[in-house]
Symmetry: C2
Subunit: 174 residues, 2 copies
Amino acid sequence: MSLPHAILTSLLEKPCTGAELARRFDKSLGHFWPATHQQIYRELGKLEEAGLILARGLATARGSQRHFDVQAAGRAELERWSLAAAEPRPVRDALLVRLRAAAVLGTVDLGGEIRRHRQLHAQTLGRYRAIEERDFPPGRALDTAGGLRRAVLLAGIAFEESWLAWCAETLATG
Amino acid sequence: MSLPHAILTSLLEKPCTGAELARRFDKSLGHFWPATHQQIYRELGKLEEAGLILARGLATARGSQRHFDVQAAGRAELERWSLAAAEPRPVRDALLVRLRAAAVLGTVDLGGEIRRHRQLHAQTLGRYRAIEERDFPPGRALDTAGGLRRAVLLAGIAFEESWLAWCAETLATG
DNA sequence: TACGATTATGCAACTTGTTGCGCAAAGGAG
DNA sequence: CTCCTTTGCGCAACAAGTTGCATAATCGTA
């Protein structure tokens, strides 16, 4: 149930078209709740039908841009949802399953995959750090909203660093 | 595509019935690839149909136990899959979306939720640590398989610790 | 042995996420 | 102006995950 709310959040930050939303998503909120452009279009349709957002521009022809704004009802729904209690999702990572498989098979070496993952996580970490430097340079005071956005980014950074450390240790130990 | 392979792994560790598999899953592999019993039964059906596992006992009546063994083809498929390259899934956590929503709304305080999540993550960490003490007590030498299983557990521990640290810092900063 | 609670198995319907494709508009190159 | 590429939009089919319920076996207990 998070995708529509992620979209509301993003539209509230800046109203835009579906395609622009999809692009922005890839570079910001999508880091923590990924979505394809098809998912986004579908949800935009539902949100519009529910009256939570409003489209400027007609839905007549394909390929014509439609600009979306969040309505008061949308804002209210987002408040409701963000305050409601929700459980964290457990991790779900195939690499860990594969390690267990390797353990029981005894014939499979995943060192290469771990190294590859280490590199991928290092790349992601690099992207996050670049965003941090760009949006939250040291020495500048942050308002509440800025602090919250920074906290989200720091969670991503912590996560990637945790992966990197684990990869290093696993490679060293195994 | 991971669930069937997680099931193969678990069945390879110890052949059993669907219900027992579901129970074992909750306490071990399921920490990293959760699945409900319905998912498991459905996959068992598919795996059996594909000839990757074999059921001792007839599928005649409901409620009668069926014991599953991994076939050679199943083992081969698991090897193939665990060696094939696969990308890590990005994080997908609603709490982070909610923080961004709170940032843009400006009227929502998530401190309580963060504290609650901190507690949940602490509980999970406690469970992992208990498993670590039970299965990998210090001072005992580990074979390769044990090392791999321990590495998986350490990944879980690292994530939870990372979450805990983040919760603490976010509560302190915000 | 009869009864009720628990355990095991499974169907059906639904929601969410993914993949692949097709069509329309916009915008530059010839 | 025409062609062609890129961008935006969206359908349709599928795969994966979830929820709720129904039924059969099992087991303890009266």
